[in-house]
């Protein structure tokens, strides 16, 4: 009995180790390239965004691939994580706290606040199904972005002031300091996100999702995805496990948001960065990388983020090419006819056939 368990364990563990290893190898290669100066400044600027999108894609993959629920609102969780952590960093800026400790705390806070939002939003949302769930997550994401655009928070000697009208109605004292300035967002957040921290966050989120997926809870979540009614009839608490998956997924997206906030000096909630377009972009990473494959999510997040930048020489045409490549890849991957064609012309099969012939 024990032996069978071990071999089973080994297979998944090996798979996970390959994923961790892949991230580490890329990290080392990038470090070598950085040290030898063979990385263009454009690519260096891309390093942190690559880790951000990878982290969020891993989080969304948990929701789409394992929970089986299509979320179009993960940019909202990123937004929550970004703003709560940047708010914390700004508040602590003049207290003389150690910068690394402060950033670590900011990551924890951003993640926790995003998890809280994921939990609160998950309670009503997870009652819905399919496209209705998708549109409600999109709605929540848009609400979060919209509210962030009208939120004003300032601080003076007597404490914090809140308003959703304008900065004048905060009634701050003369020495008051604006922290969140409505549509202008948070300015002056220190640049603390580095490639190293991004990679560490990828590894941590991979560790979390791998352990979740292979645990009892993870199997319950997958049972719900495969057949909700059957799962319910064997006594699985649907609400509890769906909420668990959704909350963790939101928390990981929040961690990505923290990196995002600390990579820019001005943090604003624009449609381009925290609107549904961002949620959709992350979803494209997840679906193209393969639902349920965290390694695939990271690979496609990296490749698809780099594609428009690599094509920059073609300036005007780059997004056009991106769109065409996306459509072509989806057709090639998913169209029944293309799948049939690939099976007929599979290189792996041909090699195998040749080998069997040789044996004969």
């Amino acid at each position: 009995m024990k032996k069978i368990d071990l071999t089973n364990m080994k297979k998944t563990t090996k798979d996970h180790l390959v994923t961790y290893g892949m991230v580490l190898v890329v990290y080392v290669i990038v470090q070598i390239m950085l040290a030898s100066g063979s990385l263009s400044s454009l690519m260096q600027g891309l390093l942190v965004p690559l880790t951000i999108y990878s982290v969020v894609a891993v989080g969304l993959n948990l929701c789409v691939g394992y929970l089986g629920e299509l979320s179009l609102g993960h940019a909202g969780f990123m937004c929550v994580g970004a703003f709560s952590s940047a708010f914390f960093t700004k508040c602590m800026e003049h207290t003389g706290m150690n910068e690394s400790v402060r950033f670590l705390l900011a990551i924890v806070i951003g993640t926790l606040v995003a998890a809280l939002f994921g939990f609160l939003i998950g309670i009503p949302v997870l009652r819905l199904r399919g496209d209705y769930l998708a549109i409600v997550t999109l709605a929540f994401g848009e609400i979060i972005k919209n509210v962030m655009n009208v939120l004003y928070v300032g601080r003076d000697g007597s404490g914090f002031h809140f308003s959703i009208k304008d900065s004048a109605s905060l009634n701050m004292a003369e020495d008051g300091e604006m922290i969140i300035n409505g549509a202008k967002g948070i300015t002056g957040t220190p640049h603390q996100s580095t490639f190293t921290i991004g990679v560490i966050l990828i590894l941590v989120s991979l560790f979390v999702v791998f352990n979740l997926v292979n645990s009892r809870s993870g199997r319950a979540i997958m049972a719900i995805r495969d057949n909700r009614i059957a799962a319910e009839s064997v006594g699985i608490n649907i609400t509890k496990f769906k909420l668990l998956g959704f909350t963790i997924s939101a928390a990981i997206a929040g961690a990505g948001g923290v990196l995002y906030a600390h990579n820019l000096s001005t943090l604003t909630a624009l449609p381009a960065n925290f609107g549904y377009n961002m949620s959709i972009m992350i979803l494209v990473f997840v679906v193209l990388g393969g639902m349920g494959s965290f390694r695939g999510s990271i690979i496609s997040a990296v490749l698809l983020t780099m594609l428009p930048e690599v094509l920059r020489g073609l300036s005007d045409y780059r997004m056009l090419i991106y769109a065409v490549v996306l459509i072509a890849m989806m057709l090639f991957n998913w169209a029944p006819k293309a799948i049939e064609w690939r099976e007929r012309h599979s290189i792996r099969d041909r090699l195998r056939n040749r080998k069997t012939k040789e044996v004969r």
Binding site: I164, D316, Y322, M330
Partner: protein
């Protein structure tokens, strides 16, 4: 009087949403897919009218007909090239492909027409209606929009009820295989649905740009999302649902902007949507989902 003005503006905006939502809902009903590119078909329709009026100097009526033809052809081509090969694939794959098509249309428009916003000239050129001694002014665009919306809904309902092609649509949306066995041309019916939906998108686009006259390659995407919300709100797949959902959404948006907060109007719209879906999980006119074990 101001309330009445806001209400009328809301109904006008809602009628535009309703016309767009009809396209979403028909395509969803028949192909069970969210056509994310629908909003961008609207934008292409706007550019078609704009270009034919400014560059070719065609009269407005001819330009609109031209735009409808362009969008109809575009809708059919998109369906044939991008969606048809994926008909038996997972719904998510189709969704991502639709997103790809949406990016593609936006970037084609960006290349052809540039990123700068064009100011669109209203194609409805007769004077506004003045009521109650000049206190209540209803712009002519509003009147045309609302009447057109009602005509379109009535025409669609009659088309589906009375014609063979309409009945074929109903049959395909209920059960594709069974419809095929009964001799319905499934591929033709799906193409027809896309053609009608895209043609309606052109009409909606012209009305939208006549009421809100700035035109950029991204003009279609937010109204597209709102109209999709309207379709879900009313119960996706139902024509009445799209109509009622669209009008309600428009009214809520304008009233929310006027009386609660101008910046939070989108948030209010989405909050109402969430509340409705929590009470009625399949929208106002949606059929309850029955699951078999």
């Amino acid at each position: 009087m101001t309330f009445l003005t806001h209400l009328i503006n809301g109904i006008s905006l809602g009628s535009i949403y309703a016309i767009i939502a009809l396209g979403y809902t028909m395509v969803y009903g028949i192909a069970k897919m969210l056509n994310f590119a629908h909003g961008d078909v609207i934008m292409i329709g706007c550019y078609a009218v704009f270009m034919s009026m400014s560059s070719l100097a065609l009269p407005p009526a001819v330009s609109v007909v031209l735009a409808i033809v362009v969008c109809t052809v575009l809708g059919i081509v998109i369906e044939k090239v991008a969606y048809k090969p994926l008909r038996k694939a997972s719904p998510l794959a189709v969704l991502i492909t639709a997103i790809g098509v949406s990016y593609l249309l936006q970037n084609i428009a960006l290349l052809l027409f540039g990123a700068d916003s064009k100011s669109f000239q209203s194609i409805v050129a007769f004077p506004p209606l003045k009521l109650a001694g000049g206190n209540l002014i209803i712009p002519s665009v509003t009147i045309v929009t609302v009447i057109l919306c009602i005509v379109i809904v009535a025409a669609l309902l009659t088309f589906i009820k009375k014609t063979k092609a309409g009945q074929a649509m109903l049959a395909v949306s209920e059960d594709k295989e069974a419809a095929q066995l009964m001799g319905v041309n499934v591929n033709g019916t799906i193409s027809l649905t896309f053609a009608i939906g895209s043609g309606l998108a052109a009409v909606a686009g012209v009305l939208l740009c006549s009421a809100y006259p700035t035109l950029t390659p991204y003009t279609g995407s937010m109204p597209g999302i709102k109209a999709f919300t309207a379709a879900v709100f009313g119960g996706i797949g139902s024509i009445w649902g799209a109509f009622v959902g669209g009008i309600l959404l428009g009214v809520i948006e304008i009233l929310g902007r006027a009386y609660i907060s101008s910046q939070l109007s989108d948030a209010i719209v989405f909050a109402v949507l969430i509340l409705v879906l929590l009470v009625k999980p399949t929208g106002i006119f949606g059929k309850p989902i029955h699951e078999k074990v």
